[in-house]
């Protein structure tokens, strides 16, 4: 239950976020009248309007941001969800969809005058189709439950975010979530066959189909990662894969983090495709070891976990090559898990890295940037320098195979000014990612958290194009306003609208 542990560890301190006036959707709907209309098709237990009852919904996994919604509704059927959306559309009330609320960027953060639409009651697995290797599920089904339901057929659902016991498939689609195995098996978008969505006016539309493609535009791809801005996902058809015959994991120890980075590059360069290729730095190793006793080498500057899966013969061949490459690139030791229990132990530390780091410090702030792999050493040096500059420690955990960094900034919100320093430090890390040819978010989404950094990554024309695409689905901008795509006035005030591509972001940028 490390998800809960982690959420508890996040001290709920209000951070420096705010709704921008240009992103505010005003309406004058009367709450009592609105509730009366909803109650015609929704049971009273499924609509919450008292502050105490709504408290659990005031934040998501980015617990430092909190807003109480106007109303919370928990429909149980597509028809009920349609009814809610039709009412919101009629009265111009904003709607924020919510799955399990494990998102780390405040995507499911309520809007103060809006409806929080929880999909938590859509928990049915509608069909496991072993012949076509697919699963059709409702959006509130937890990620792991899909693999559990598929297991009797020798199948599983590949994307495995660390939050998989709790996070929902609807949330996964809305965030295009990845996991430690996405290097080989892809992100949510690569494992998705079809969707049913409700548009803001309550219309039910099917996207994708039974085959591997569909007529017209690739709308499943557009919906994936759209953070609840385009439609409410009410049904998802996922691709299932045969469970691998063999899974084997190596743990390589390095005395220098740059060598570890080079070893990762060498593995990919050699044409190997590990199922997982993860890396942790010394602080993360020590934290994880103290927390779960995985047997990690606490003196190591870095460790790399390299997992191969598939046919036994193929895995044996790949492991031998990977081992040789790790040693040739400076690994001081390469361990191979000798049993399934041993393999799980290798992973236990990595998977518990967030809560483990949480034990070192009253608060921490999890970042999520992606960079070209070859810039890893350089970016790490940059992060270390920033850590000195801001006087805040940082533990680094990476999906190294695909260049996705999760620096965890340690701070204490009770120390005056530390929170603001942590935020500024985080902002600098993201700018470093963009300057290195990367992006401000690999898998956690923009949400509310990185809305300002979007102004760094995209030009005004690009943002306008995003807004036009949103308007194609939601002309009045009622779905999740103020998230994911910043308004132009916000960017103008943030002072970071970058106009020319290929240039490093605004060097004079010092606000956040």
């Amino acid at each position: 239950m490390y998800v809960l542990t982690m959420l508890q560890l996040l001290e709920p301190t209000p951070m420096n976020h705010s709704e921008h006036p240009a992103e505010h959707i005003a309406h004058s709907a009367d709450k009592a009248a609105f509730l009366r209309q909803i109650s015609q098709f929704l049971e009273s237990g499924n609509m919450l309007s008292e502050p105490e009852a709504m408290r659990p919904y005031e934040c998501d996994g980015m617990a430092a941001y909190q807003v109480l919604p106007w109303l919370v509704v928990l429909p149980e059927t597509i028809e009920q969800a349609q009814g809610v959306l039709q009412l919101c559309h009629q009265y111009g009330v904003p709607v924020v969809a919510r799955g399990a609320g494990t998102g780390l960027s405040g995507g499911a953060l309520p809007v103060a005058n809006g409806v929080l639409l929880s999909l938590a009651k859509f928990t049915r697995i509608l069909k496991i189709d072993p012949g076509n290797r697919s699963a059709c599920v409702q959006p509130g089904v937890p990620n792991l439950a899909v693999s559990e339901a598929a297991a009797p057929f020798g199948l599983y659902y590949a994307p495995d975010p660390s939050s998989q016991i709790a996070c929902t498939i609807g949330g996964n689609v809305a965030e295009n979530s990845g996991g430690v195995h996405c290097l080989k098996y892809g992100l949510t978008v690569h494992n998705l066959l079809a969707l049913k969505i409700l548009t803001i006016d309550g219309e039910l539309i099917s996207l994708g189909g039974a085959g591997l493609d569909s007529a017209g535009y690739d709308l499943p791809a557009v919906l994936t990662g759209s953070e609840g801005l385009l439609g409410v996902i009410v049904e998802v058809t996922l691709k299932l894969l045969p469970l691998p015959e063999t899974v084997s994991t190596l743990l390589a120890v390095f005395a220098g983090i740059e060598q570890a980075g080079e070893a990762v590059t060498a593995i990919i360069g050699a044409g190997l495709l590990p199922a997982g290729l993860e890396m942790m730095d010394n602080l993360a190793i020590r934290a994880a070891e103290a927390f779960v006793h995985a047997g990690y080498p606490v003196e190591a500057a870095a460790l790399v976990l390299c997992e191969m899966d598939g046919m036994a013969v193929q895995v044996a061949a790949d492991l031998a090559r990977a081992q040789a490459i790790l040693l040739a690139n400076g690994a001081t030791e390469v361990r191979q898990a000798q049993s399934e229990a041993g393999r799980k132990k290798f992973w236990a530390g990595r998977k518990a890295a967030f809560p483990a780091v949480g034990r070192l410090s009253p608060d921490y702030y999890c970042m999520d940037g992606t960079i070209p792999r070859k810039r890893l050493a350089e970016v790490l040096r940059g992060i270390a320098a920033l850590s000195e500059e801001f006087g805040l420690a940082v533990a680094n955990v990476f999906h190294a195979g695909d260049g996705n960094l999760h620096p965890l900034i340690l701070y204490d919100a009770n120390q005056p000014g530390e929170l603001a320093r942590a935020e500024e430090f985080g902002g600098k890390i993201l700018q470093l990612c963009v300057a290195s040819g990367g992006t401000i978010t690999g898998e956690h989404g923009v949400g509310m958290e990185k809305i300002n950094q979007m102004c760094v990554q995209f030009s005004g024309a690009e943002l306008r194009q995003f807004h036009a695409l949103k308007a194609a689905f939601d002309p009045r901008g009622l779905l999740n306003p103020g998230k994911a795509i910043p308004s132009l006035p916000r960017c103008a005030e943030f002072g970071a609208l970058h106009v020319h591509h290929g240039h490093a972001p605004h060097p004079g940028l010092d606000r956040f």
Partner: protein, 356 residues
């Protein structure tokens, strides 16, 4: 390694601005190798082959970025030099096929079910929209969820949303070894068998049925392929024959495709029973792609595909191409999206659907 080529983006932008100003629709053309696909586009030809060249290629990053007019053959050669490939095995349909056309048509070859489609490897695009603005979406990294995924939307949009200028794609290592096995069986048995294999731990990289025999391709380590051969039996095709067979499937050079009868492409669930439509069939993608030669009316084929949860397209025919009609809700979304990117209706009007 990096060929400078020609950056014609400013020139293309001027053309587009002029088209907008004069309200003259343009028909975007790479080499014209796939003009048969889809409906005829209206408008003045806008030649984009002049915008060509590989911009960057980092084998250890598994990423290549190239301009839309770059010849597919050149890209595949550059990749092959470093032991890499485009995993979706793109069809050429002409010697000068360009990368832009590959992405815009969204067509993938036999490896698609096992290694993903064009849209799965597109990481980023630079494009010209219907305001004549040059925009960049996505990037050169594997994971990127900043903003809507406009890059993937461009794949298969047939140029109706703008001119794709530059494309970044994920590339894959070439397998160490490949073998093709052949098994003779009936159509029903073939579908069942291909799906059974797909549900097992096998290094499949292609599976098709030509009416008489299933051919499967295995890719991976030498040792793995040897062990699978032992397990499955079947006869192995000589390597050169296997290579040209899959190229002929991809390029539609097999005897099956040499015919004047309209050729239909049906995209169905891989295990769906053979549709009840008269005509000759060729099954690819382990069952997920069915090619049909038939003289049946379009409505009949569309209805049949729809009833099976899939879709159909008249792929090659003297009558021209035609895509599966969209539901009312989908059609509205499509028109809105078109409007969002191309408000003046400049790009490839009518290529995807009549009227826009």
């Amino acid at each position: 390694m990096i060929e400078s080529g020609g950056d014609a983006s400013s020139l293309l932008r001027e053309h587009v601005l002029a088209a907008i100003a004069g309200k003259i629709p343009v028909n975007i053309i790479g080499s014209g190798s796939k003009t048969f696909y889809g409906r005829p586009a209206q408008g003045e030809p806008l030649e984009v082959a002049q915008h060509h060249g590989v911009i960057s290629y980092e084998p250890t990053e598994l990423v290549i970025t190239a301009r839309c007019g770059t010849r597919l053959a050149d890209i595949e050669a550059v990749l092959a030099d470093r032991g890499q490939m485009l995993a979706f095995e793109p069809p050429y349909f002409g010697p000068d096929a360009t990368l832009g056309g590959v992405v815009a048509t969204g067509l993938s070859g036999p490896r698609r079910p096992y290694a993903g489609a064009v849209r799965d490897v597109v990481l980023g695009v630079k494009m010209l929209n219907g305001h004549g603005e040059i925009l960049k979406f996505g990037g050169e990294v594997m994971k990127n969820v900043a903003g809507f995924d406009v890059s993937r939307l461009m794949a298969g949009a047939l140029g109706t949303l703008g001119v794709i200028l530059d494309i970044s794609m994920k590339v894959s290592p070439r397998p160490e070894a490949e073998t093709t096995l052949i098994f003779f069986m009936t159509p029903d048995a073939a579908l069942a068998q291909m799906n059974r294999w797909a549900g097992q731990n096998l290094p499949l990289s292609a599976a098709c049925f030509d009416g008489e025999a299933v051919r499967i391709r295995l890719s991976g380590a030498q040792t793995a392929i040897a062990s699978v051969r032992q397990k499955l039996g079947g006869d192995a095709l000589p390597d050169d024959e296997a290579g040209s067979f899959w190229a002929d499937v991809r390029e539609q050079r097999l005897g099956f495709f040499q015919d004047e009868t309209p050729l239909w492409r049906l995209s169905l669930s891989s295990a769906a029973a053979q549709p009840d439509l008269p005509g000759a069939w060729f099954i690819d993608w382990g069952g997920a792609l069915r090619w049909l030669k038939t003289g049946q009316p379009a409505e009949t084929v569309f209805q049949t595909a729809h009833a099976l949860g899939g879709h159909a397209c008249r792929f090659r025919s003297p009558m021209g191409g035609e895509f599966q009609p969209l539901s009312v809700g989908l059609e509205k979304l499509h028109r809105n999206i078109k409007q969002a990117f191309d408000p003046h209706g400049i790009f490839n009007a009518g290529r995807l659907y009549k009227g826009w």
